[in-house]
């Protein structure tokens, strides 16, 4: 039995949340964590990755820290209209903040998840079409959108 650390907890919390919300809102969209998996199934698809983080002291002399985490959400769509709709939908779901879970893994499978805090989006640093030069691209790369979010996890 093992547990995910905070970056993987963040990724998995986002994946679980978006997967459930997509079903509720009637979208047929896959949500993946690994880049190669995007190309192994149908479109549209959402890819979620923690890219980097910035750790700063809470205040001068303090031993507690604040961590801003850069999260990339890549949307792989079938056309430009779907790309814009899915980008708008995704932002509307994430901006109010989502629940953060701590995951326990047994034999490589999630065996338990416990509510452990909240993920707050501090800033959207990118919201744009990701690849503009389309010549020679595979179908999956033709209508891609990038959302880069600066997030912070508040533990409860």
């Amino acid at each position: 039995m093992s547990t995910y650390r905070n970056y993987r907890n963040l990724e998995k919390s986002l994946i679980d949340y978006l997967t459930a919300e997509l079903v509720t809102d009637g979208w047929e969209v896959r949500v993946e964590k690994a880049f190669s998996q995007v190309y192994e199934g149908t479109l549209p698809c959402i890819l979620i990755n923690v890219e980097s983080s910035n750790v700063i002291r809470r205040e001068v002399g303090s031993s507690s820290y604040l961590e801003n985490i850069l999260v990339s959400i890549r949307l792989f769509c079938l056309n430009d209209g779907e790309r814009l709709d899915l980008a708008s939908w995704t932002l509307s779901k994430i901006m109010p903040g989502i629940s953060y879970y701590a995951y326990t893994i047994t034999s490589g499978v999630v065996s338990e998840k416990t509510l452990a805090g909240r993920i707050n989006c501090l800033e959207i640093t990118a919201n744009r079409k990701e690849l503009v030069n389309l010549e020679g691209l595979a179908l999956q790369d033709k209508f891609r959108h990038l959302l880069s979010l600066r997030c912070r996890v508040s533990l409860s």
């Binding site: 190309y39 890219e51 640093t125 990118a126 030069n133």
Partner: protein, 183 residues
Amino acid sequence: MTKQIWTVKITKTGRPPVDFIRKVTVDLQRELQNEIFLSAEDTAQIMQSILMSSGYKLDKLANAIKAEFSNTEHGLIGGIGKIADLPKSDKGEDYWEAFNAGFKPGASGTYVPLGSFGGEAPDSNKSGGHWDVGAGNWTFLDTNQTKKPIPPLSYVDIGYETLARHISKAIDKFNKELEAAAK
């Protein structure tokens, strides 16, 4: 009892107030510009190191990513990695964007980026066999190789995040110094 007219009294002794404010503003503005320049240099280095350590033989692209500034009539204008100056493959294709975003080589025999990039041999342990060794050139993507997706390097987004963090710190410092000078 003397009636107090001013909450802040300005006298004519020492440096005239307008000159003082002008001097402080100019000094701090210079300092802020210097901080921004150093931040941009640091950001460019981080972007270069991501490209250099990727294993995709992107040295030429990494070396072209530079912080540049110029003083214009609209103030200081600058940027990192001027797109027009970034290298293209020998087929004339841009490849900075594709490696930032990650991509899958096309199935129809066309690839992004297409062509050779020259220079030293790539690290065969790192880039998963995405190249072909030609005479005097190292071609990125070989038609005979498995067309595995190349994951995103996200060096532009990580660079942006780094620069935003540095500038925010510099502005905080600037504001504190401005407040201290005003006291």
